[in-house]
């Protein structure tokens, strides 16, 4: 057996040398996209990813500006924008005004969506089951454990509800969806507020946890007697059985783009420091009570005026021309009044080298 060790080593070294040379040679070469136009990097929430990707794609066709959005999760998005490794961060849960000021950040709502409780009960069709906030909270607290509980029957005198135990399903992974849902329960139930609170992940009193919307919907669809909560678009696409919720004004409403918009319309964006507005449990007779906005977070002091301008132009374009695309994907575009407010804020607060960037 002839084993040409020296030759093997020689080849290895040549390969290594070639790779090194190629690797070094690559550094000054710019990517084609960079030559063509600006690349803007963003990272954060998974919930708005489909619409951001759609907008980015359309915008690139139009202008050549490339928006690179990584849906790594809101927590990661906030960390990355604080560290300055991306041009914008995205989060489903708004940062508080103090947190924004600490890092010199500005946040504004980009798009809205709703969270929908879904159930799996034999013979119950979408929109059949009516639920009050108290019942929803009691179920998630583990106090109501059967579907034929008198409290549920009282709300639904016309339905025949089975003597079946309720399986509570929640998100296992930290998520903005959970943040919005628990924020709602926190607002409407004192007991929830004192026992659990709200956040992207909480200490659930009962239930099983599914990973992602797909995990929750898989459990709900598989387990008879289950209740869970998913994003509206997800419930719609999977034809899940949503419930009608009683809102703050005492009406039972269906989740729909119109009822999410109704919730947003009543909100007082103007006086909220840092746009810390949570759209859960809003007044208004048509308001869906579990609505939420997804936020963009950027630095107030921008390093590169040109790049910052390009980024704002993209957001402006998305606000003004992206509404149809958003609706097609079951997101809710921001109302015009809010967009005007946001752009007013850009004018006032965003600076590069001491000069205003917008418009």
């Amino acid at each position: 057996m002839k084993f040409k060790l020296r030759r093997v080593i020689a080849i290895l070294i040549v390969v290594a040398a070639v790779l090194t040379v190629v690797g070094c040679g690559k550094q000054p070469v710019r990517l084609p996209s960079e030559q063509k136009g600006v690349v803007i990097n963003g990272a954060g929430a998974t919930f708005p990813y489909p619409i951001y990707a759609k907008w980015a794609n359309e915008y690139k066709e139009l202008t050549g500006v490339r928006i690179n959005y990584q849906s790594i999760g809101s927590g990661g998005g906030v960390q990355q924008i604080k560290a300055g490794t991306v041009d914008f961060g995205a989060s489903d849960a708004p940062l508080t005004a103090e947190e924004l000021d600490q890092s010199g950040l500005l946040q504004f709502p980009m798009v809205m969506g709703g969270v929908v409780p879904v159930v799996n009960i034999k013979g119950i069709k979408p929109g059949d089951l009516r639920m009050s906030p108290e019942i929803l909270a009691s179920i998630y607290l583990g106090k109501i454990t059967k579907w034929n509980d008198p409290a549920i029957r009282r709300e639904n005198p016309n339905l025949s509800l089975p003597d079946k135990s309720i399986t509570v399903v929640h998100r296992a992974d930290g998520s903005g969806t959970t943040w919005i849902f628990t924020n709602y329960l926190d607002k409407i139930s004192k007991e929830w507020h004192s026992k659990v609170g709200f956040g992207k992940a909480v200490d659930w009193p009962v239930g099983i946890g599914g990973k992602g919307n797909e995990g929750v919907s898989a459990y709900v669809q598989r387990v008879e007697g289950a209740i869970g909560y998913v994003e509206y678009a997800y419930a719609l696409q999977n034809r899940m059985t949503h419930v009608k919720l009683k809102n703050k004004s005492g009406n039972y409403v269906e989740p729909s783009i119109a009822s999410f918009q109704a919730a947003a319309a009543g909100a007082d964006w103007e006086n909220a420091p840092g746009y810390y507005v949570v759209l859960t449990d809003q007044p208004g007779k048509d308001s869906w009570p579990i609505t939420g906005a997804s936020y963009i977070i950027i630095h107030k002091k921008q390093k590169n005026a040109e790049k910052a301008k390009a980024m704002l132009e993209f957001f402006d374009w998305s606000y003004r021309h992206g509404g149809g695309m958003a609706k097609a994907l079951n997101y809710v575009p921001m109302p015009k009044a809010v967009v005007d407010l946001v752009e007013e804020r850009w004018k006032r607060d965003l600076k590069a080298n001491g000069k205003a960037i917008w418009p």
């Binding site: 992940a201 200490d203 995990g215």
Partner: protein, 334 residues
Amino acid sequence: MEAGFEGEREGNMAVKVDSSNEVVMLGRGRVNKWSANKLFKYICAACCILVLVLMAGLIVELIANSTLSVRKLGLGFLISDEWDPVMGKFGALSSIYGTLVSTLIALIIAVPMSIVIALFLVELAPKGLSSFFGTSIELLAAIPSIIYGMWGLFVFGPFVADHVGPFLHRYLGFLPIFQGTPMPVGMLTAGVILALMVLPFTSSVMRDVLLMVPSVLKESAYGLGATTWEVTKDVSIRYGIRGIIGAVFLGLGRAIGETMAVTFVIGNEHKISASLFAPANSIASTLANEFTEADTPLYLSALVELGLILFLITAIFQVVAQTFLKYVARGSRP
């Protein structure tokens, strides 16, 4: 490096392996045999050191990033099963428990099965069938874990809830581990899915181990009138016991850190319950679920500490395995 390279180009060297398995170089020209030898040695050493550096880096990083939680939560982290990110209370007990129990279930199912499979393939099956089954089992090992997870969630989980669970509940319901309502996801489903994932590894290693049993030994036993069962029990397994135990620890290593498949089917609850039907969690599933959205420093640090604990558990198992193997080696060989 450069000098070695020059030398390589000048000389035209052949290598041959002599009878004592020593590589002897037949050099010609300027090259002496030591430069190539040394170079080879250094390359090998560098690769080894790289592993060590990686290990050390990992440990340093894990410890550095978990100091906050170690300082704030102390030992309570290890003995509490409360996990409340809102209040900033973190306890690792349920994750540790889930990791160990799901791994245990997996091994209880997978180890006897893989011994039987390996014995069938080596001792009992016709040759064609044996190689067919052998290849099939190795193919199972190549399936990505997320596929096992999805299959567990959509197909196997419901099957457990509808058939396996009720059956166990009916006949073994007096045991606390089979009480409660069978659910499609939970510790039992996770354990069984893990067993299926471990099976290809353990059984193919065990098959190789049994194949290495010298036929002289087996034939002598048959010659003395031993039955297949006796040969298997007293010759094959005893001869290959080290390899078999090695295979078990290989499976354990795979099961203990498995992430995606477990996350899909374990139910993800930070609770310890006696019933195997109840949802639970493991260290790996907690990390997979919560790392992306961990938004406070303490939360993140607690998750890193969980990673550190998993690392330590794996290390402890390694040490136990090594010690055990040494002990067995002394006991079984004359």
